[in-house]
């Protein structure tokens, strides 16, 4: 197990290196730069700025310097937000996005799985159709419309929650719901279809032949086997949801990481693009690793073998 994780960490470093390299050169290949705006800067100032940030040096020295500083967990200063480093941006924005994302993830997973199970157990009955109509809505309605609808009805009409801003737990409910809607719908559909497949398996018939009740069969025999595809989906989903959503953060005025991710690109804020991408990649790689480890716990047939065969 430890050997397996060690090997996976090595692979993660390798992927990270490839991601950094690709982003670095793609970013440089894009036209424009951090200091090109509508008003052209005087050439001397631009030259000084480039010198100050080291942008005048040859690409390889910039590239290797960057690799070294990333290894030291230093993403450098932001070009656009004066006086702030990328590390500051991340450590300010990420906790907010993380909290919001966790809340959304919890809603999406718990309600999604529940809906999926209810739909599967009542296959082709009204509960099934109801849940699936709900799921199709959740998948097809974009999050910004969902957010506006929630704001209009729950905040403005019913005064249940505040419309926007990021102040108390109350403020987190609407953005979390809006963020959770699509993944929740997706998880519900995924759970339903894999549950239906599991329920038609021979071992479910065996469980019935043992005299177990419907509830016991569902809880003890069906759910665990049905959750594997959901867990697979959870890896990339959680990385995506935890780093924040640009749209949701904009609509609700939330100071999260998502807006940096998008704005830095149009700003050509090189260090922020790199920093956020690297951070996101680490999160993604880590959650994929977690999912793979979780497989081993859910399904004993999946062995997490290191170099040699375990045991």
């Amino acid at each position: 197990m430890l050997r397996y994780i060690g090997r996976r960490l090595l692979y993660m470093l390798l992927s990270l290196f490839l991601i950094i390299t690709a982003t670095f050169f793609l970013m440089r290949a894009a036209p424009g730069g951090p200091f090109s705006g509508e008003k052209k800067l005087p050439p001397e100032i631009e030259k000084n700025l480039n010198e100050y940030y080291g942008l005048d040096r040859p690409w390889y020295s910039q590239y290797f310097d960057y690799l070294v500083s990333v290894a030291k967990w230093d993403f450098g200063p932001s070009f656009k937000y004066k006086g702030q480093t990328v590390n500051d941006l991340i450590s300010d924005g990420f906790p907010v996005s993380f909290f919001l994302g966790m809340e959304a993830l919890l809603i999406a997973v718990s309600i999604g799985i529940l809906l999926g199970i209810i739909a599967a157990l009542n296959h082709n009955k009204w509960q099934d159709y109801g849940a699936m109509v709900f799921a199709v809505l959740g998948i097809s309605v974009p999050s910004f419309i969902m957010a506006s609808v929630l704001q209009y009805f729950l905040a403005i009409k019913l005064h249940l929650f505040p419309v926007a801003r990021w102040e108390s737990l109350q403020h987190t409910v609407l953005p979390a719901l809006a963020l959770a809607a699509t993944p929740m719908a997706f998880i519900a559909r995924l759970t339903r279809s894999s549950m239906l497949e599991v329920l038609s398996n021979d071992y479910i018939r065996t469980a019935k032949a043992k005299g177990l009740s419907r509830g016991q069969i569902t809880v003890k025999h069906a759910i665990r086997n049905a959750l594997l595809p959901v867990v697979t989906y959870l890896g990339p989903l959680s990385a995506g949801i935890l780093t924040g959503s640009f749209v949701i953060e904009k609509i609700f005025g939330i100071p999260g990481l998502g807006s940096h991710f998008v704005l830095s690109i149009s700003n050509r804020d090189y260090t922020v693009i790199m920093g956020v991408t690297v951070f996101y990649s680490i999160l993604l790689l880590a959650s994929v690793l977690l999912v793979d480890i979780a497989y081993g716990f859910i399904d004993p047939r999946i062995k997490l073998a290191g170099g040699k065969k375990g045991e």
């Binding site: 398996n201 021979d202 071992y203 018939r205 065996t206 469980a207 019935k208 032949a209 043992k210 005299g211 177990l212 009740s213 016991q216 003890k220 025999h221 665990r224 086997n225 859910i298 399904d299 004993p300 047939r301």
Partner: protein, 355 residues
Amino acid sequence: MKKLLEVKNLEVSFQTYGGEVQAVRGVSFHLNRGETLAIVGESGSGKSVTSQTIMRLIPTPPGRIKNGQILFDGEDLVKKTDKEMEAIRGKDIGMIFQDPMTSLNPTMKVGHQIMEVLTKHLKMDKSAAKERAIELLRLVGIPMPEKRVTQYPHEFSGGMRQRAMIAVALASNPKLLIADEPTTALDVTIQAQILELMKELQKKTNTSIIFITHDLGVVANVADRVAVMYAGKIVEMGTVDEVFYDPKHPYTWGLLASMPSLDSDDKSELAAIPGTPPDLTNPPKGDAFAPRNPYAMKIDFELEPPLFQISDTHYAATWLLHPDAPKVEPPEAVKKRLRKLSSNYPQPVIVKESE
């Protein structure tokens, strides 16, 4: 009371888009305590549906028990509610399925799957159930049961999984064990071991067994009595000797003739029954086997044959047993095995159809 199970005029249908499939069309048989009854027939003859109906395992809908009674220990299982059936399944009736590779839950320890039966029906606590599970694994011939009990099904071979399934089915000492083609998915040597094991366990526990198979070789090995099913009906039923050495129904002849034997040389072609079983959405008029039956007479296409009784235990539904029917010779392969049985009545008797 000697009879453990009595099935009377059972009719089971499935509602499909193509119409109502009459899978079981009036099946009656009984099973004595400690006895093994084999139900044989080709795919789609209704043998599995019959057995799953006894356990009330057919999905309803689309399935429906249209008619009949299943008297188990004097109580009619057809009338039981789902909750009442839960108390009978696994406790009084155990079941073994065809494919041991898929019949066990892959993410649950084998021991736990046995313990479930014990905690549910015998109200054992966890440690007692585990002890008993180890004992059961030892009983079904699994070596090192203390270690095996905490393993998962994928760590077992096919034959061992079927042994584990038998342990599950026998965990609470059921009065009846239904084995639905338990050896079909296993290779021949393992098959022989499993059959041997079942016979041995039956001797120890005096369990009655319904053994469903399409393999007549297996039947001869394990059964006391045999019921031959075709198109949702029992066409012939009798003791093993009666069905093997004095078969009366042309379908049974066909089955026996298509059984390869050691002394058949490689020049003679293996006999087969021509054609396919009828579509049970529209069961044919008359005898369902008539279109495939080289001995069919005109009446076979018009009127269903009644049940004739040949001895105390031997029944067959064919017009050939009617006093007015012409004498016919069974196929060569069957003729070779015919013996005179002293228990036969001088004349086959028509059994009155109970309405």
